[in-house]
Amino acid sequence: LSLWAVAVLLVALLCLDPHSRVSSAPICTHGPSGCHVPSLADLFDRVIQHSARMHSLSNDLHSEFEQYFLPSKNSIGKIYRKCHTSSILTPNGKENAQKLAREELTEVILKLLMAWRDPLFQLHQSMAHQQDFNSFSSNKALEMGDMAHELRKGVEKVAEKMRVLGMLGNSVTGLSAAETMLPISDSGEAMSNYELLYCFRRDSNKVQNYLKILKCRIVPEHDC
């Protein structure tokens, strides 16, 4: 009888103790909505890091290509087809880039990233099928494509944030209707892998550069 009484007492204590009641704790404990919201500067840092990583991947792949498949550098016989993104007007100098408004700059970035979504996928596919590549290179291509996708999402978030903060006007046109550019050269032939890599390397460099300019223009506190 005494044991029972003790057990009942314990249970009662546990139940009555308000602190011991189990309740779901909020996941986000900071900030008004309970979660930690990254600041614009943090967002910019993230996307810039992302773009740097993407560019280094493209650089590596391009170097590999050049090393193993095109031994003769700067040969006269090299034929450069136009990159399919050459129709996008991009500033090719610092002044030109600084002359562009934030919205335009953001738009250029987004356009570029959008234009590469499908070609990167195709690149990975063709690299995976060809037996010349080892799995490491084809994995890089896959990662590169994913990164481009992520980066685009990130830049869209940044634009959203800027719009919220009032830094961005509404002149940014929706890119959802952006034409999907197919990497088809003037002559109608599909570009080779090397050409794709060459073009993407350049475009990723552009993206990284534009993002940095944008960041130092909008949030100049750190590293500018």
Binding site: N92, C216, D223
Partner: protein, 600 residues
């Protein structure tokens, strides 16, 4: 047709002439490098070829990718000779430039190989500027803070270009530089530099995709002289050791008993069972010693097989030969005849007997030294008539032939014989044989090695507890002494003196040097040697007359324990020849036979 042919011939001839003259068309120039310091302008340099001996001009031409328009270099001067500088207006990023250099002289021209250049990838910034190295003194020790500024031309503020820095440090005498990566910051703290030394510092930078700049000019910095105090390490060591010491102390304290046991093992103190210290303190020594006596000791053992077979010869024909010392115990009771003094047999109340005999033979003896001990059971023989005299303790001279023997003490591994205090029945043994090699000369130079024989059997002769006698055995019990003739003849010798070599000088009784001291008994002025132990103790037998109880077993005698009175010091025992069995000479010349007791 004719013109072209004429032209050809003319040009051929001109060439020949020019070659003969040593001039020729220029050689091929070569573009060495193109660099952009800030990603806004760039410069290309070329290397001229052979100029062919004629003044040659060079021209750089380029066209952009996917365009056929050829432009010439806008600026040949800014960057120096054989260079072409492209200013901001002429520089486009992310566009391939196809550049060639053309060399032209009077005789011809040559074109270099084209070079593809994308300005975005040929960035090499200028060196950082204003490098300063300052010694900062702090608690942990001084260090050097190196700070610098970005190259003036690089625009990092707008984010157009991102630079990362690197610095390197070394002493003048060092071969290798120590490199440090500073990232994108414009300062760096260098620690662990040696005191009182001068260091050289250099800095360079690099854009995120590009080439490293050149190193700056060397900046010198001198470290002050200081003593490095690695305090934290010492503090830690001290604390740690204190901690260890505390733990050890506590452990030792907890285990102090076992530690004490380990380090200082207890010395077993002497313990005598039944010994009452209090009694001793109170002064009643008699009671104290009484308690030590074990009743019923010595245990009764059938000594039959321990009996020593020996012959006892009396020169008194009334004596009977005692062949078996079994009778000895009975002899204790009987044989009150005066001839018993001679025999080895003792009489059980030899105390009175001894006294009596002592008295008898006392006349004419110098008997100052007699003392009658009550150690009755020590069977020893003392010389007769003048028996109460004997050797001076320690005197090597025997004035007479009286030698006292005292009984042997057990030294065999036989059961330990305790001496009873009360028993007063000494039993005498006689030496079965005395080897007498004495010459009939009167010279007291008879050296005899007296050995004992058959002594081991004597032990068995102890029949009755009432009569205890000691018997001593030497280690050489069983071995007959070399040179001992197994003759059974008995002769009596008397000890003349003991020479320093621990030898008894014996002479036969027929010696005319024999003391004319009368003796009541024929054998009174001689003694039988019972045995020699360890070559330097002569145990002589003496008849029953005396019970000088001294020197022998103090553990217990037949008589009561009394302080021994030296009756006659019988044998001089050389102190140096202490027998291993443990016969110990007391100061008065008697042998302490206690130590002959086997140790248990």
């Amino acid at each position: 047709m004719r013109n072209s042919g004429a032209v050809l011939i003319l040009s051929f001839i001109a060439k020949l002439i020019s070659q003969a003259a040593g001039v020729s068309a220029p050689g091929k120039p070569r573009l060495t490098s193109c660099r952009s310091p800030e990603k806004e302008t760039f410069t290309c340099w070329w290397e001229p070829g052979d100029d062919g001996g004629l003044p040659t001009t060079y021209g750089l031409y380029y066209h952009l990718e996917n365009s056929e328009t050829i432009y010439e270099c806008p600026d040949y001067r800014t960057a120096g000779d054989n260079s072409c500088f492209f200013n901001k207006n002429d520089t486009s990023l992310w566009v391939n430039y196809n550049i060639t250099v053309v060399a032209t002289n009077a005789l011809g021209r040559d074109i270099s190989d084209p070079v593809e250049v994308d300005v975005a990838y040929i960035v090499q910034p200028n060196t950082p500027e204003n490098v300063t190295a300052v010694v900062v003194d702090e608690d942990q020790g001084p260090f050097v803070r190196v700070s610098w500024e970005k190259p003036r031309t690089a625009d990092t503020r707008s984010g157009w270009i991102t630079l990362q820095y690197q610095l390197r440090v070394k002493q003048k005498k060092d071969k290798e530089w120590e490199e440090y990566d500073a990232g994108m910051q414009k300062y760096y703290n260098v620690f662990s530099l040696h005191p009182d030394k001068e260091f050289m510092v250099q800095v360079r930078c690099k854009p995120d995709h590009g080439f490293w700049s050149e190193w700056t000019q060397t900046t010198y910095v001198k470290m002050p002289d200081y003593i490095p105090r690695e305090r934290s390490l010492w503090i830690m060591i001290t604390i740690f050791s204190v901690f260890i010491v505390l733990i050890l102390t506590w452990t030792l304290n907890v285990k102090r008993n076992s530690v004490k046991l380990c380090l200082l093992p207890p010395v077993p103190g002497p313990k005598i069972k039944g010994f009452d210290k209090q009694l001793l303190k109170s002064g009643k020594s008699e009671e104290v010693f009484n308690s030590l006596v074990i009743q019923g000791f010595p245990p009764t053992i059938d000594y039959d097989d321990l009996l020593v077979e020996y012959l006892e010869v009396y020169d008194n024909e009334e004596q009977e030969l005692v062949l078996d010392s079994k009778d000895l115990s009975e002899d204790c009771m009987k044989s009150k005849s005066p001839s018993d003094c001679d025999s080895g047999r003792g009489s059980c109340d030899s105390r009175t007997l001894l006294l009596e005999k002592c008295m008898v033979g006392r006349e004419g003896s110098r008997s100052d030294q007699h003392q009658y001990s009550q150690h009755g059971e020590t069977s020893w023989a003392s010389t007769e008539s003048s028996e109460c005299q004997g050797l001076e303790p320690g005197s090597p001279e025997f004035s007479d032939g009286r030698v006292k023997t005292w009984p042997v003490v057990f030294s065999s591994p036989q059961p330990h014989h305790h001496y009873q205090v009360e028993a007063v029945k000494p039993v005498y043994h006689s030496v079965p044989e005395i080897l007498n090699h004495s010459s009939p000369h009167a010279m007291p130079a008879n050296y005899q090695n007296l050995q004992h024989q058959d002594i081991p059997q004597q032990e068995g002769r102890f029949g009755k507890p009432a009569c205890r006698h000691s018997q001593s055995y030497t280690h050489g019990l069983d071995t007959p002494a070399p040179g001992v003739s197994p003759s059974r003849s008995l002769e009596y010798v008397e000890v003349q003196r003991i020479n320093p070599e621990n030898m008894l000088l014996l002479r036969p009784l027929s010696d005319q040097n024999r003391e004319p001291e009368g003796s009541d008994y024929a054998g009174e002025d001689y003694s039988k040697v019972k045995e020699v132990t360890s070559n330097n103790i002569l145990l002589l037998q003496r008849d029953t007359s005396y019970l000088c109880a001294d020197g022998y077993s103090q553990a217990g005698q037949c008589t009561t324990q009394q302080p021994p009175h030296p009756c006659k010091p019988v044998i001089y025992q050389s102190h140096s020849g202490m027998p291993q069995e443990g016969m110990r000479v007391m100061g008065n010349g008697y042998v302490d036979t206690t130590v002959l007791m086997p140790s248990y």
